[in-house]
């Protein structure tokens, strides 16, 4: 059982702040590090794996510092996002080399079981340069698991995986979390994270925007103001009708036709919209949510 602790951690590159005063504890089980691209996830994982010094604050694993402390790698398995591997080796040679570098007593056996765990036994004797993206990801997993680490850090592990491989990796991570390992993976896709992670840490623009189980994060998202574009038979009348309802915070006529509506209560708005339209004899042509992108959700979380 291991715990990663980040205490008021910031990291900047010259005058660009990549991570801004982040404090979090990552304990046993699966934790998802969620955030849009460029949010600082890779920087955080680099600091959690001892490959980057925080500019201020401390990052420790079970109380031990990670920076310039190679002995922590007995406990840590790292799956970096970058795809580069030792392409001239076969998958098996690569995992065996990792086992040898960990000084394991039986590197061959450790490699075999790790390769079997990620279902790469059939392709293990092929040269890595011939592997698909998903196969590379799995052999990287095998190499990071070969010494049975108590902490596993994965940077965007689902990138490039087909649905079957994705499900397999999700099961693998869930099992590892259930075994009491501390598993942290980063992703920019909420659906991906909530299928695997018990705990979710949301990072936006280098800041720790939210933390909690996926239910709590979901609530933060669904309770936020929602924006829609409506196209109706009578936009002006529809806008005035909607403004009379407390679930609507604002309505604006667009110059190219249609109404922009901001609803503060998504549940009530979805119920009253068709009813009010019918009562006032206004035909609804189109209802389009405009802010479903992850970035807007995150932007809301940060401002909340």
């Amino acid at each position: 059982m291991s715990t990663l602790q980040l205490d008021h951690v910031s990291r900047w590159y010259r005058n660009v702040v990549a991570v801004n005063d982040v404090s979090m504890n990552i304990g046993p089980g699966v934790t998802g590090l969620l955030g849009p691209n460029g949010a600082g996830k890779t920087t955080l994982i680099a600091m959690m794996s001892g490959f980057l010094a925080p500019s201020t604050g401390t990052v420790t694993l079970d109380g031990e510092p990670l920076w310039r402390n190679e002995q922590v790698y007995r406990k840590i398995g790292l799956v970096p996002e970058r795809e580069a591997l030792f392409d001239y080796l076969t998958g098996r040679q690569f995992v065996v080399a990792n086992a040898e570098l960990h000084g394991l007593p039986d590197p061959g056996a450790a490699a075999q079981s790790s390769i079997a765990l990620v279902e790469m036994s059939d392709a293990q004797d092929r040269v890595i340069s011939t592997y698909s993206k998903g196969m590379r990801q799995r052999i990287k997993m095998a190499s990071s698991l070969v010494h049975q680490p108590s902490v596993l850090l994965l940077d965007e592990p689902f990138n490039g995986m087909d649905p079957r491989q994705r499900i397999h990796l999700m099961t693998l991570l869930r099992n590892m979390g259930a075994e009491g390992r501390t598993v942290l993976f980063s992703s920019h896709i909420l659906e991906e994270v909530e299928q695997v992670a018990r705990q979710i840490e949301v990072v936006v623009s280098g800041r720790h925007a939210a933390s909690g189980d996926f239910g709590a994060i979901r609530r933060l998202m669904t309770d936020r103001p929602n924006r829609f574009v409506l196209r109706t038979a009578d936009d002006r009348k529809m806008a005035s009708v909607l403004l009379g309802d407390p679930s609507v915070r604002g309505a604006r006529l667009r110059s190219d036709g249609g109404i922009e509506v901001e609803a503060s209560d998504f549940g009530r708005f979805s119920e009253i919209l068709p009813r009010l339209a019918r009562e006032h004899g206004i035909r609804l042509h189109e209802v389009t949510p405009t802010d479903e992108s992850l970035e807007s959700v995150f932007a809301y979380l940060v401002s909340a």
Partner: protein
């Protein structure tokens, strides 16, 4: 985990890395050029002291040895740092100095195989009756080449353009300034190698540079370069320095 200075797995991976890439072919071509030229000189000029000396000094010590060291060292470290695959070596409970020393051991073996031994063979081709001549140049190549490896390993961890920086260093510092400014000899690895060759081969190459100074300076570069490379690797940033 591993307390030895050289890790066999890193050596094995290093050998695969050097010879698994296209530039590894150059390691075979350069010594062939040296031996081929030695044969040509021998055939055209005969057993001539000055011709032999100039061939081994100006082609061997000044060109082939540093190029072999550059190719071997940068082929071991720079590509892994560039593509990030070095993280698989660094995410292990192994001293960073063990990683550097293991890699330098591979580079030094390359210098021995592709620079020192070809120098010995070329020396024997040129001056078969004087084996000390060939041995002196071979030893100077090995010692000078090892110092170059330590220096180029430091370049590899300091810049993403280690090959270019290494070539500029060789052309500008060792070549151009070394020829124009006499004071450069105190800080020139090739000049030190020449001073080491002198007493064994019984030739005059380095002027007033003493062999003792050359040996001490070479050891300082080898130990200092190794230490600084390991130190830099301990603080390796996976995300880069941007």
């Amino acid at each position: 985990m591993t307390t030895t200075a050289i890790h066999p797995t890193i050596v094995r991976l290093g050998l695969r890395s050097v010879f698994g890439r296209r530039r590894g072919i150059l390691l075979f071509i350069l010594p062939l050029v040296l031996i081929g030229l030695a044969v040509l000189v021998r055939v055209l000029v005969g057993a001539d002291d000055l011709a032999a000396e100039r061939t081994l000094d100006r082609l061997g010590l000044a060109v082939i040895v540093p190029l072999i060291a550059l190719l071997a060292t940068t082929g071991l470290l720079a590509p892994e740092i560039d593509d990030g695959s070095i993280s698989y070596l660094l995410a292990k409970p192994i001293s960073r100095y063990t990683i550097v020393i293991s890699k330098l051991a591979v580079a030094t073996c390359c210098v021995l195989l592709f620079a020192a031994i070809p120098m010995l063979l070329a020396g024997l081709v040129l001056m078969f009756d004087d084996p000390a001549f060939a041995l002196g140049f071979a030893l100077g190549s090995l010692v000078g080449g090892t110092a170059y490896c330590a220096l180029f390993s430091l370049f590899s961890v300091m810049t993403r353009h280690a090959v270019v920086v290494g070539l500029i260093y060789l052309l500008v510092w060792e070549g151009l300034l070394g020829g124009l400014l006499d004071g450069v000899r105190w800080l020139s690895i090739t000049r030190w190698a020449r001073a080491i060759v002198e007493p064994i081969a019984d030739v005059t190459l380095a002027g007033d540079l003493s062999t003792v100074y050359a040996i001490v300076a070479t050891v300082v570069v080898i130990v200092g370069g190794t230490w600084l490379t390991g130190r830099r690797l301990r603080a390796f940033n996976l995300t880069g320095d941007e």
